[in-house]
């Protein structure tokens, strides 16, 4: 991961955010990300993100659970150690349905949550750059990635013209690192300019 330069704009209303996203994208800038305090419906599409296929992964984990349960139990009860239980056949399928079901759900749920954490780089002691401290409170924060060619002043002016209430320039780590939130962020330089 590397440090990059971002122009960051804060929006206080999602109704302003949507047209702004559209304008910024049409102007050809690359939006690094938009940080919101809650899931804003349709924002992922506005940003041109593809649908997540997390649920497909869940389905595969689930099937794995089903297979694990059925194959283990049937091997144990028909091959490894057949027992006569209440006169039932060794291959007592109806009695195995509950455990099979539980393992299906368990595998799917655990697998999905782990995949989710992996994809989003979520774990204890993982730290990421905070573009705006109120992104988890009441502001919608748009971070635009700058290249060497970007005229940052122009971009800042443009961003505030789209309705951002607060605009600044940040030079920050784009990825994640191990760190603690009680220690100061070393990876950010002070914002250079602020346009009201």
């Amino acid at each position: 991961m590397a440090k990059k330069t971002f122009v960051v704009g804060a929006f206080s209303d999602e109704a302003v955010l949507f047209p702004a996203v559209k304008k910024v994208r049409t102007a050809g800038y690359k939006i690094h990300d938009v940080y919101t305090p809650f899931p804003v419906h349709g924002l992922d599409h506005a940003l041109g993100m593809r649908e997540t296929s997390l649920h497909t992964a869940g389905f595969i984990y689930g099937i794995t659970g089903t297979t694990t349960a059925l194959s283990c139990i049937s091997w144990i009860f028909t091959k490894d150690w057949p027992l006569n239980i209440g006169g039932k056949p060794h291959f007592a399928l109806p009695a195995w349905v509950p455990i099979t079901f539980e393992l299906t759900v368990l595998f799917a749920a655990v697998g999905m949550v782990l995949t989710f954490c992996y994809l989003c780089q979520l774990a204890p002691f993982v730290k990421k750059h905070t573009f705006h401290i109120r992104a988890t409170d009441d502001l919608f924060i748009m971070a635009i990635e700058c290249t060497d060619k970007t005229n940052t002043d122009e971009l800042q002016a443009f961003l505030s013209s789209t309705g951002a209430t607060e605009v600044n320039l940040q030079h920050a780590e784009a990825g994640w690192w191990y760190g603690r939130y009680d220690q100061e962020q070393q990876l950010i330089t002070e914002p250079k300019a602020t346009v009201a």
Binding site: E14, A15, F18, D33, Y35, T36, P37, F38, P39, V40, H41, G42, D44, M49, T52, L54, H55, G58, G62, I73, I76, F77, D80, W81, I85, G86, K88, A92, W96, P98, I99, F101, E102, L103, V105, L106, A108, A109, V110, M112, V113, F116, C120, L122, A123, P124, F125, V126, K128, T130, I133, R134, A135, T136, D137, D138, W176, R180, Y181, D182
Partner: protein
């Protein structure tokens, strides 16, 4: 972006003119403030109860099951009654967070976090009973299927008791994951507001480094939806499997095919009662009346009258079949041991009927549904009734065996049996008090999500859409 509109006839879910920031403030306030005196008192009582429970369990573990008053035929008494009772209570949390999410009932947002916490603590309490009922609790790992030196003698996969092991542990795990994945963004909110170093550290760790990135939210929503979809059949399966513990047997009063859905309905019923009890306290103590409104209370009371009536329908079905089957053992259990008020445990059956079927019918009245006092009182009554239900099922079916020579003397619990039960209350409330103090008790992000649709101040903003003729409305907004 879609139009944010909801009919004005619907009660607002968030009152008091909130904006996003105010929501954060209101919900984080209890976490950031010093605990109140009331909190300390409650916490102290809970810990005391817990200690008593620990001692009761200590007696049972050291001296054996003989410390309890179980006897020859009543091998399951208070312990399994309490187990089923606690598991049942857990169900409402999952129902609120999962099934109501699928049904898109917006009011769940106000109560889901606390209800899910309740689920987890209730399942923790429930788990104690079968484990300590084993007697030699240090052998508890025998329930796990692993290659061993005892044969290899595997666990009995055909036994409902083993199904329980899988069901309860899966249920606990999945509920925990569901709950925690919802908590991550809210922990991030608390983290970003933290003033002290310790708080920054702890909430920073707990928040897993959440930023609120759009892609993460998209995945988060997908995850919640699938977890909800998984939890829905899961929650049904758990009480279903608990009911199988009874229904797969050939004991009169236990072996009946309606048990699975009827247990599930009963579980939801008792769970909602417990949610009511907790919510009424929470909203009062933490001043959350704007988020847990009368509308929320009323909605939950509707669920209570619905599930209470379903349970009632099942009770009557069973009672009817006890007669209709013309099976004399079934008939004896239902019509002598249960429905007859003057049989030894007849009081418990009628207690159950009064608490679970008759009294919830009060909630057909809108006025009573919205009365806090009645609601609180009823929530306690229902929980007592549902405890009776499990007691009735277990004890009245067991106390008279087929042979009169093996009928057992009247069963009443010993002090250590009761102490164990009291101890789980201690555990439950200790956990709940800690949760209420250190966790966001309302899902902050989810409240913000519904705020612009259901907040009272925003609802007035759609006056124009409300007045619009439908043709024009379609022209403007239909997809």
């Amino acid at each position: 972006m879609h139009l944010k509109y909801e009919s004005q006839l619907r009660e607002p879910l968030v009152t008091g003119n909130k904006d996003y920031h105010q929501v954060t403030e209101d919900i984080c306030r209890p976490i950031e403030a010093k605990p109140t005196k009331l909190w300390y008192v409650g916490f102290f009582i809970a810990v005391t109860l817990l200690m008593f429970g620990v001692y009761s369990v200590y007696r049972e573990v050291t001296y054996g099951i003989g410390q309890w008053n179980l006897n020859k035929t009543i091998g399951w008494g208070w312990d399994i009654t309490n187990f089923v009772w606690w598991v049942g209570i857990g169900h409402a949390g999952t129902l609120i967070s999962a099934i109501l999410l699928l049904f898109r009932q917006g009011w769940r947002t106000g109560v889901n976090r606390a209800a899910e916490a309740m689920t987890i603590f209730a399942v923790m309490c429930a788990g104690q009973f079968p484990i300590f009922h084993m007697g030699r609790v240090w052998m508890a790992f025998f329930v796990l299927p692993y290659p061993n030196t005892r044969g290899p003698l595997w666990t009995n996969f055909n036994s409902p008791l083993l199904w329980d092991v899988f069901a309860i542990s899966t249920y606990f795990t999945v509920s925990l994951l569901f709950w925690y994945s919802g908590l991550i963004p809210d922990f991030a909110t608390v983290r970003d507001r933290a003033k002290t170093k310790l708080r920054k550290l702890l909430y920073g760790v707990a928040s897993f480094g959440w930023t609120g990135s759009t892609k993460h939210w998209q995945r988060h929503e997908s995850l919640s939806l699938v977890l909800a979809g998984l939890s829905t059949p899961l929650v049904l399966s758990v009480h279903t499997i608990v009911s199988f513990d009874f229904a797969t047997s050939v004991i009169p009063g236990w072996h009946t095919t309606i048990f699975p859905p009827y247990f599930v309905a009963g579980a939801v019923f008792s769970g909602f009662a417990m949610v009511q009890t907790l919510m009424l306290m929470l909203r009062k103590i933490f001043v959350l009346e704007d988020y847990i409104t009368l509308g929320h209370i009323e909605a939950m009371n509707k669920v209570i009258v619905l599930t209470g009536s379903i349970v009632g329908c099942a009770y009557l079905t069973e009672l009817f079949m006890g007669w209709y089957s013309q099976n004399k053992y079934e008939g004896y259990t239902f019509w002598y041991s249960r429905a007859n008020l003057f049989s030894p445990y007849g009081w418990s059956y009628w207690g159950m009927m009064a608490c679970n079927v008759i009294s919830p019918q009060l909630f057909w009245s809108r006025k009573l549904r919205r009365n806090l006092f009645v609601t609180f009182f009823m929530s306690i009554i229902v929980n007592i009734g549902m405890w009776f239900e499990r007691f009735v099922i277990i004890v009245t079916s067991l106390y008279r065996d087929y042979l009169p020579s093996s009928w057992s003397p009247y069963y009443s619990p010993s002090i250590w049996e009761m102490g164990f039960y009291a101890g789980t209350f201690g555990l439950f409330f200790t956990c709940f008090f800690l949760f209420a103090k250190y966790f966001p008790v309302i899902a902050i992000a989810e409240i913000k999500y519904v705020l612009k649709v259901s907040g009272d101040n925003y609802k007035a903003g759609v006056e124009k859409e409300e007045k619009m003729p439908v043709e024009e409305f379609v022209h403007e907004y239909a997809h």
